[in-house]
């Protein structure tokens, strides 16, 4: 019997709601994201759900479109991390001593860069903007997935059915991807969900610093930065993007936890 914890439920609900908002935003937003619709810094009202920002734009619409950035950055960076992480991890876990040493040393070095330091360095060199930020975050995610894949491989490698496959003559690559990999999917899924949350947080941070998504494209991190200047007059402006970031991160964290709980009890 599977245990569906409250984490899984709430996480799923949050993520689905956000996904819904993101999809809807492609077709419809209450107002344009870049047009001045009213006076600046209007508080939330029935016409403007989250009020207006420093240029008189509707905050709610900008939040909706901002969610597109969130999912874009999240998915792509996790995808990059997964693909290369699994590749490296499977080679490290399967191929043996030397490959393992080298790859893991590299991963350790990567993980030694604290927080967003690597991403900062990357955008400093290659330029700001959403593309570079996403790639940087993707690279930062690689070591985590590599580790998980590697330890999974090293465990499954011992199983008797792998020996049997080898003795029958199944080529190594086939063994790796057809026999071993499907068995280690679950920790990877959990890590992917958590990784998504981490990526969003990091992207928000970069955008806050002005190094991520560039204006006038809406980004929740960027909106937080803009809200700082108008605290006294418009505190509501700071609430919306921060709240959205929190909810999104919360949703994916809970989702990851929930999936982990299911797999554990199994």
């Amino acid at each position: 019997m599977k245990r569906v914890s409250w984490e899984l439920r709430i996480g799923l609900v949050l993520v689905l709601l956000l996904l819904l908002m993101c999809l809807v935003s492609f077709f419809y937003t209450p107002y344009g994201t870049n047009q001045e619709v009213a006076a600046k810094y209007q508080p939330p009202s029935s016409t403007f759900l989250f009020g207006t920002d420093n240029l008189g734009r509707d905050v709610f619409s900008r939040i909706m479109v901002g969610s597109q950035t969130v999912f874009l950055v999240g998915f792509i960076s996790v995808a990059i991390g997964l693909v290369f992480g699994v590749l490296l991890g499977s080679v490290a876990g399967f191929a043996g001593k030397w490959a393992d040493e080298i790859i893991m040393r590299l991963m350790d070095a990567m993980m030694s860069f604290p927080g967003i330091l690597f991403a900062l360095m990357y955008v400093a060199v290659f330029g700001f903007g959403i593309f570079n930020a996403t790639v940087a975050l993707g690279i930062m995610a690689i070591p985590k997935f590599a580790r998980i894949t590697r330890s999974g491989f090293m465990q499954v490698k011992q199983e008797p059915y792998i020996d049997m496959a080898r003795s029958v003559g199944v080529p190594k690559i086939r063994i790796m991807f057809v026999h071993i990999l499907p068995n280690i999917i679950s920790p990877l899924i959990v890590a992917a969900s958590m990784g998504f949350a981490t990526a969003i947080l990091a992207e928000a941070g970069l955008s806050y610093l002005g190094l991520g998504v560039q204006p006038p494209d809406p980004s929740w991190g960027r909106m937080l930065k803009d809200s700082q200047n108008s605290f006294l007059s418009a505190p509501h402006y700071a609430l919306a993007p921060g709240l959205m970031i929190t909810l999104t991160v919360l949703g994916f964290n809970l989702l990851g936890d929930g999936i982990r709980d299911i797999k554990d009890v199994k």
């Binding site: 941070g205 700082q228 929190t246």
Partner: protein, 317 residues
């Protein structure tokens, strides 16, 4: 033990070397001429050539890597394009502030986190325990810089407990300086507290299942006594490793928080360096910070091994 230390030292050096290589090469890929960047667009060809010779840009790449290594080893990270000062001096002038912030944050994390972990373990299964769990989850999801902004708003503007942006160095006025740093430290600490509580709580609960706890009850010890005299000490051991990871996270967090609170630390310097495309500065700082984190990790690893003699496992798996 000596063999272990030796292996650890070798491993440390290797990781440091790799980090340095990565940092070096990333800046190598940079399009654009370092000489032009330094001297400015108006520099004549002769000046450019002279400068290139001076910093050795005309040598093959591995020679340059080696030179850079040697210089970095001695602490020479080059000269900042923007400030015209040696990078290492700029770093030195800021390190103290960031260190103060980091230490304060760590302190807050432990002081707030441990009691909450205890409560969380004690009230497990009950309403307050579940509520605590929910709060923990939320705490982990909140972006640090948002907390920073909210704190500025709530404590600074509304309550007036401090003046936002008016940083007071600790050396000038300890009390006021601390009361200023308290708020960014708090913003940094809260997500860490959440993570700490998670780990420590499950560690405590694991320990409760151990035999010696039952022995304690059999001896007639009260729950509190068992907790404080035996369980807590053992459950804090894995917490120590988490603290090590947290130092890195906190350092990463200071990078952004310093911007919000106008604190003249490493973070602010780094960000302004990036905006100004001051590559020697950025390169030197990245290396410095990464080194710091690695060394702290290794030290904590060693401390962990010292405290818990049972631990004798492989480094990775």
């Amino acid at each position: 033990m000596p063999v272990y230390l030796l292996k650890k030292a070798a491993s440390l050096l290797l990781t440091l070397a790799l980090v340095a290589v990565i940092t070096f090469f990333i800046f190598e890929i940079l399009p654009g001429d370092a000489a032009l960047l330094r001297l400015g667009i108006d520099a004549t060809d002769v000046q450019i050539e002279a400068y290139r010779k001076e910093i050795g840009l005309d040598r093959p790449i591995f020679v340059r890597l080696g030179n850079w290594f040697l210089r970095a080893f001695r602490g020479d990270f080059g000269i900042s394009n923007r400030f015209d000062l040696p990078v290492i001096e700029l770093i030195r002038s800021r390190v103290a502030v960031t260190t103060q912030l980091t230490v304060l944050t760590l302190f807050l994390t432990v002081v707030i986190g441990i009691p909450i972990s205890l409560l969380s373990a004690k009230y497990r299964g009950r309403l307050s325990g579940v509520a605590l769990g929910v709060v923990t989850q939320i705490g982990m999801a909140i972006p640090t810089f948002w907390l920073g902004i909210l704190a500025t708003y709530l404590f600074g503007l509304i309550l007036g407990w401090f003046t936002p942006g008016a940083y007071v160095p600790l050396s000038t006025d300890l009390f006021r300086g601390l009361s200023y740093l308290m708020f960014p430290a708090l913003a940094l600490a809260i997500p860490r507290v959440a993570v700490l509580v998670r780990y420590t709580r499950s560690s405590i609960l694991d320990e409760w299942g151990q035999d010696y706890v039952r022995t304690g009850y059999a001896k007639g010890l009260s729950t509190d006594k068992i907790m404080f005299r035996h369980v807590l000490r053992n459950s804090l051991i894995p917490t120590l490793t988490i603290l090590g990871m947290m130092v890195a996270e906190i350092l990463g967090g200071t990078l952004i928080i310093e911007q919000i609170y106008n604190i003249p630390g490493l973070g602010k310097l780094l960000i302004s360096g990036i905006s100004a495309r001051d590559f020697p500065l950025v390169q030197g700082m990245v290396l410095y910070i990464a080194f710091l984190v690695i060394v702290i990790h290794v030290l904590l690893d060693i401390a962990y091994k010292l405290i818990d003699p049972r631990v004798n496992r492989e480094e990775r798996i």
